[in-house]
C-alpha cells in the first residue's frame, strides 16, 4: 500500500536556497532551468548480456542489461515476442534504498520506461516471433540503478534505449518445429527510438532534469516521452503536489522541442546504423 514517503533530510536553508535560486532563473549547479546535466552514454559494456549501456546523468549512474531468451508468447498475442522491463534500486545507490522485492518507486520506474518503449513500438515484437503460439524471443530489460543523484527515469530510459539499440541476438532456423540458433548474430528489430524527459515544478517555475536536491523540494514532476515522429507516447505525473494545466502544456511543448538532441546522443553512443 502506498504511503507518503519520509522525505530525506535536506536542511530548510538549503531547500530555501534552491527554491529562491530557481525563482530567479538559476540553479545550484549553474545550469539553466531547462538544461540537462551532462549525459554520458556507453553501450556494450556487459559482454555476457545481449545488450547493455551505462548512463551517467550528472552524478546519477544507471546500468541497463538486455538479455534475450526463448520462451512462450502470451496467449492473447501468440504471434509476438515478449518484452519485460524490471528495475532494481539497489541499496548501493542511495542510503535510503533497501534490499528486497521491488517497491512502488522501482515498479513505477520500470513501468514508465516500459511504456515509452512499448507505446513508441521501439522493438517490433512481431518480428520476435519464432513459431506462433509456441516459441518467441523474450526480451528482458533490467535497469540497475548504481548511484542516485536524481532523475532516475530519464537516465534509465536513455540507458534502456541504448542497451536495446546495442543488443544482438542469434539468428535462428526452424526445421520441423525445432529451433536451432546459428552462430551469426543480428540486431533486435528496432522501429522507433523514444526519448524521455522529466520536468519538475519547484515553486512557480518548471525545471528540466531535476537533481536529487531539487527532487526533495519539488512539488511535482512530469515525465514526457516523445517518439521519433515527434509525437507524445507516454506521460506520468509524480510527486505530492499539482501542476497547472498551463504547466502541463508547456512541459509537453518543451519535450517535443528538446527530444531530437537527446535521441542524437543515444544514437551516437551506440553507433547505430553502422551495422
Amino acid at each position: 500500500m502506498s504511503a507518503t514517503p519520509q522525505i530525506p533530510p535536506i536542511s530548510q536553508i538549503e531547500g530555501k536556497t534552491i527554491i529562491d535560486l530557481i525563482a530567479s532563473g538559476k540553479r545550484l549547479d549553474g545550469r539553466g532551468l531547462l538544461d540537462h546535466r551532462g549525459f554520458d552514454i556507453k553501450a556494450g559494456i556487459i559482454e555476457k548480456a545481449n545488450g547493455s549501456a551505462h548512463v551517467s546523468l550528472g552524478k546519477t549512474k544507471v546500468l541497463v542489461g538486455v538479455k534475450v531468451e526463448i520462451g512462450e508468447p502470451f496467449s492473447d498475442v501468440p504471434d509476438q515476442g515478449v518484452l519485460t522491463v524490471n528495475a532494481e534500486l539497489v541499496p548501493m545507490a542511495y542510503p535510503l534504498f533497501e534490499p528486497g522485492p521491488p517497491d512502488e518507486n522501482s515498479i513505477e520506474l520500470a513501468r514508465v520506461v516500459d511504456r515509452g518503449i512499448r507505446e513508441s513500438k521501439m522493438v517490433d515484437l512481431k518480428k520476435l516471433c519464432i513459431i506462433p503460439n509456441e516459441k518467441v524471443f523474450v526480451v528482458f530489460v533490467d535497469i540497475y540503478v548504481l548511484d542516485h543523484d536524481g532523475n532516475l527515469i530519464d537516465a534509465s530510459a536513455a540507458a534502456a534505449a541504448a542497451a536495446l539499440l546495442s543488443a544482438r541476438i542469434n539468428k535462428f532456423e526452424v526445421k520441423d518445429g525445432e529451433v536451432s540458433l546459428l552462430p551469426e548474430t543480428m540486431p533486435l528489430p528496432i522501429s522507433n527510438i523514444p526519448v524521455t524527459m522529466t520536468f519538475a515544478k519547484i515553486g512557480g517555475p518548471i525545471v528540466l532534469d531535476p537533481s536529487l536536491e531539487e527532487e526533495q523540494v519539488m512539488s511535482s514532476r512530469l515525465t514526457v516521452t516523445i517518439d521519433k515522429e515527434g509525437r507524445l507516447c507516454a506521460l506520468q505525473k509524480g510527486g505530492m503536489g499539482y501542476m497547472t494545466v498551463e504547466d502541463v502544456k508547456e512541459c509537453v511543448r518543451l519535450a517535443m522541442e528538446k527530444a531530437p538532441r537527446i535521441r542524437g546522443l543515444i544514437l551516437e553512443a551506440v553507433g547505430y546504423g553502422k551495422d
Binding site: 507518503t4 519520509q6 512502488e104 513501468r111 510527486g239 503536489g241 494545466v245
Partner: protein, 248 residues
C-alpha cells in the same frame, strides 16, 4: 467472441455503447455506504463498480511511517479477484502498486494533511467490477469518502480519461475501447486550482490531439465535480454542509 477491429468501435460518430465521442458513461455516486469506515463512497461509472473506505486521521501504523509535520496518506487500489474477465490473483500486481501510488499523489494535494501531524489517513479503493477507467472512478469515490470522513480538503479531486479510437478523440474509454484504442490519458483535476493532480498517458498523441484531449478531460472533470458535490449534498442535506461547500 467475434473479433472487433478499432474501426468497429466508432461508426458514424457513434461508439459501441451508443455514446458520442465526447460523452461520459452513466455515473452513480453514493456517500456513506459502510458502517465501520470513517468515510465511504460507492461509485458506478459505466460498468465499473467501486467501493472506497477512508479511515483516519488515526494513529499511524507502523509507527515509523508517522511524519512530524503532517498526516501520512496511505492508499491502496485493489481489484477483487472476480472484477475482471480472467480471475485475478489476490496478491497485488505491479499495475495495482503503481496505481495506488499515482492515486495517492492525485489526492495528496487536496488533503489538508498538515492539520493532523503524526497521524495516518488511510484510503482503501476496492474495484468490485472493472471496465476501463477504474483509477479515475476510484479517485472520484475517494474524494467523496474523504469528505464523508470529515477530512478537511482544499478541493474535491475529479477525474476522467480521454483516449483515441481509430484516429478519433474519445472521452472516457470503456475496457474494450481501451484495448483496441490507440491512446488513453487519465487526468485528475482540482477545479478551484485549475490544476492537474494525476496525469498519465500511453499510446500515441500528436501535439494537437494532446491539447484537445486535455481540454476535453478538464471540461468533463468539472462535470464530475458537480456530480460529486451533488452526491455530498444529498447525503448531508439535513445537516447543512459547510466545510466542503466553502470551496464552491
Amino acid at each position: 467472441m467475434p473479433q472487433l477491429s478499432p474501426e468497429d468501435l466508432f461508426r458514424n460518430g457513434i461508439r459501441v455503447d451508443g455514446r458520442r465521442w465526447n460523452e461520459l458513461r452513466p455515473i452513480r455516486m453514493e456517500v456513506g455506504v459502510l458502517d465501520k469506515a470513517d468515510g465511504s463512497a460507492y461509485v458506478e461509472h459505466g460498468k465499473n463498480k467501486i467501493l472506497v473506505a477512508v479511515y483516519g486521521p488515526r494513529e499511524a501504523h507502523p509507527k515509523h511511517i508517522a511524519l512530524p509535520d503532517r498526516a501520512t496518506i496511505k492508499c491502496r487500489y485493489h481489484m477483487a479477484p472476480f472484477s475482471v474477465e480472467e480471475r485475478k490473483s489476490p496478491a497485488p500486481s505491479r499495475r495495482e502498486i503503481e496505481i495506488s501510488k499515482v492515486i495517492r499523489e492525485a489526492l495528496e494535494p487536496a488533503i489538508l494533511s498538515e492539520y493532523y501531524p503524526r497521524t495516518s489517513i488511510d484510503i482503501f479503493i476496492e474495484v468490485l467490477q472493472s471496465d476501463g477507467g477504474s483509477r479515475c472512478a476510484g479517485i472520484n469515490g475517494a474524494s467523496l469518502a474523504l469528505a464523508d470522513a470529515g477530512i478537511p480538503m482544499r478541493d474535491l479531486v475529479a477525474a476522467c480519461a480521454v483516449g483515441k479510437i481509430a484516429g478519433h478523440l474519445a472521452l472516457d474509454l470503456s475496457d474494450v475501447e481501451d484495448k483496441l484504442g490507440e491512446a488513453d490519458m487519465p487526468v485528475a483535476y482540482m477545479p478551484t486550482y485549475n490544476s492537474v493532480t494525476l496525469l498519465q498517458m500511453d499510446g500515441v498523441f500528436t501535439h494537437d490531439e494532446f491539447a484537445a484531449g486535455l481540454e476535453l478531460a478538464v471540461e468533463n472533470c468539472k462535470k464530475i465535480y458537480q456530480m460529486q458535490k451533488e452526491a455530498l449534498r444529498r447525503q448531508y442535506l439535513e445537516i447543512g454542509s459547510e466545510g466542503i461547500e466553502a470551496n464552491r
